[in-house]
């Protein structure tokens, strides 16, 4: 299998605080990987480093897109990294609430289109053709995500589970090869979580994106992921299959505390 994201020896300091401590993570094409760890372990910071919100203090982030040149992406701006094929969602819902569902997805599509400002103002035939292509693409994404009936609703009026799915739909609109999901199941009821489980598998199998997810719902993590990375205090304390992680003493210690010898 071909690695599409390789993070090597990455460290992120905030003043005196070391939020991420020489972390190594590799993701191969078509994998579903989970990143778990106690609160404050540095999981979201890791996402922020990869997507360009923070520039890591040291270390390397390499991507090898399936249809592109391998390259180092440390310190690139978020919008540039998105265009290279990394998309993400946040822990809390960050939809553009005063826009319609369709517009939210269209904004994601715009990332990978060409028309510039002048084209938008003067609306040449090329711009118009592109616009209608974008609308079509957005519709088809919404259909795949089961959101087609909300197309013209304001994003803010959607039920919670649908808002979560819309966030993923919007991220998918940027044509990523790797999708980073930050606690996608947060606040979902068991039924919605099951639907999410299926959705993530479908994205991988049909759209061919690799998925890296941060998640606290262990049932979801264990059933979905092929490989799990466990971090605590910014350090990797374990990696392996769900089975290996379940029996890893360091992981159990981080989550449950040390066993007292009787």
């Amino acid at each position: 299998m071909k690695p599409i994201l390789e993070v090597k020896n990455m460290t992120m300091d905030f003043g005196g605080l070391r939020a991420i401590d020489s972390l190594d993570i590799t993701i191969n094409q078509g994998e579903i990987i989970a990143l778990i760890g106690p609160n404050g372990a540095g999981k979201t910071t890791f996402f922020n480093c990869i997507t360009g919100i923070y520039t890591p203090t040291s270390g390397d982030i390499h991507i090898s897109p399936p249809h592109g040149e391998p390259q180092r992406i440390n310190g690139l701006k978020p919008n540039v990294i998105t265009k290279k094929g990394l998309a993400r969602t946040f822990q809390n819902i960050r939809l553009f609430t005063s826009m319609t569902v369709l517009e939210n997805v269209m904004i994601g599509c715009h990332a990978v289109t060409k028309a510039g400002v002048l084209g938008a103002i003067f609306r040449g035939p090329a711009t118009k053709a592109e616009e209608s292509r974008i609308v079509e693409k957005s519709y088809s994404i919404l259909e795949k995500m089961g959101l087609a009936r909300y197309v013209n609703d304001l994003a803010v009026n959607l039920p919670y589970g649908a808002q979560r799915r819309l966030e993923i739909a919007r991220a998918m609109a940027t044509d990523p090869f790797l999708l980073l999901l930050d606690e996608p199941a947060a606040g979902m009821n068991p039924q919605e979580t099951r639907a999410l489980d299926e959705l993530i598998l479908r994205l991988r199998d049909r759209e061919g994106v690799a998925i890296l997810l941060i998640e606290h719902d262990m049932k979801l993590v264990m059933s979905l992921s092929e490989k799990i990375y466990v971090v605590d205090y910014g350090k990797k304390i374990g990696e392996g299959t769900p089975e290996e992680i379940r029996n890893n003493p360091a992981v159990i210690k981080a989550y449950l505390g040390e066993e007292i010898d009787a």
Partner: protein, 302 residues
């Protein structure tokens, strides 16, 4: 009550309001995107008026027909003001984007003073006569006692600009990017939107409408000087706050309300106090509706 007088005041207020609206748009759009009160915005409008004067004087001297002069002068003013707006953002605001908001505000005030004094030195401190670019149309003669043709042109131009702007923001790619950026800059960037470019475009669009306003009012009033941007800027700022700063329909509504308030108070009570009434009205609105007429009160999620 004298109905015709009422209509005169109504239309006079509408004209004034239209001008305020053209300037207020720039304030409210910039605020909507980067939460900055761009105090140098009035100066952009003043620079637009000066450019219009210089270009139209030159073109009139070489004997161009009036309609061509108007269009070329307006275009020159728009391009010149836009380049000032663009440059201003790059040198005075962009480096301060991560700084506390107060720093950018002080930078804006500095920019405003700088541009005023720059025009004062480069041009003159005197009032300069501005040619009346909009002629009195013959066909409008029967109605000219209610509203003059230049006033009519001002209102029509404003309506056209508003329609174009609404179209730009609602339906184009850059418009969607602007709305997305104003709601959540980080999320916008993560969806591939170049936030720096969106901010530049916002400044350019705001400067363009201000330049149009500058030309129209200069031609209407008939004189300009380097200080004209200050009071107009303050009034437009008031209009933007009245309507709810950050909201584009709000800025237009606020501008019209302000224009009518001034016009009616001046017409029925005393023209000496029109500014007093305008600002009194602002105080009342802010007491009873602090977020403005169309502004959303910010509910913070905990």
């Amino acid at each position: 009550m004298d109905l015709e007088y009422f209509f005169q005041l109504f239309l006079g207020g509408l004209t004034r309001g239209s001008i305020y609206a053209l300037i207020a748009l720039g304030y409210t759009m910039v605020y909507g995107i980067i939460q900055l009160i761009n105090f140098a915005h009035g100066e952009i409008y003043m620079i637009g008026a000066f450019t219009g004067l210089i270009v139209s004087s030159v073109l009139t001297m070489v004997g161009m027909p009036i309609p061509a002069v108007v269009i070329l002068a307006a275009m020159a003013a728009i391009i010149y003001s836009c380049s000032y707006g663009y440059t201003m953002e790059k040198i005075a605001y962009k480096p301060l984007r991560k700084a506390p908001r107060l720093s950018a505000l002080i930078s804006a005030i500095g920019m405003s003073l700088f541009l005023q004094n720059y025009v004062l030195l480069a041009q003159t401190s005197d009032f300069l006569p501005f040619p009346s670019l909009i002629p009195d149309f013959d066909f409008w003669e029967p109605y000219a006692h209610i509203i003059t043709s230049p006033e009519l042109v001002i209102i029509m131009t404003t309506v056209v600009v508003m329609i174009l702007l609404t179209f730009l923001i609602k339906f184009t790619k850059i418009g969607k990017a602007m709305r997305a950026t104003s709601q959540d800059k980080m999320m916008a960037a993560l969806l591939g939107i170049n936030v720096d470019k969106v901010i530049s475009v916002t400044f350019i669009v705001g400067s363009a409408t201000a330049a149009i306003g500058g030309i129209l009012i200069a031609s209407h009033i008939g004189q300009i000087n380097f200080y004209m941007g200050f009071i107009a800027g303050i009034k437009a700022f008031v209009a933007a706050v009245l309507g709810g700063i950050g909201s584009i329909p709000g800025a237009v509504l606020g501008a019209l309300v302000l224009g009518w308030t001034e016009s009616f108070f001046a017409g029925y009570i005393s023209s000496d106090y029109e500014d007093v009434f305008a600002f009194l009205f602002l105080v009342l609105i802010l007491i009873f509706r602090p977020s403005g007429i169309l502004g959303r009160s910010e509910t913070q999620k905990v």
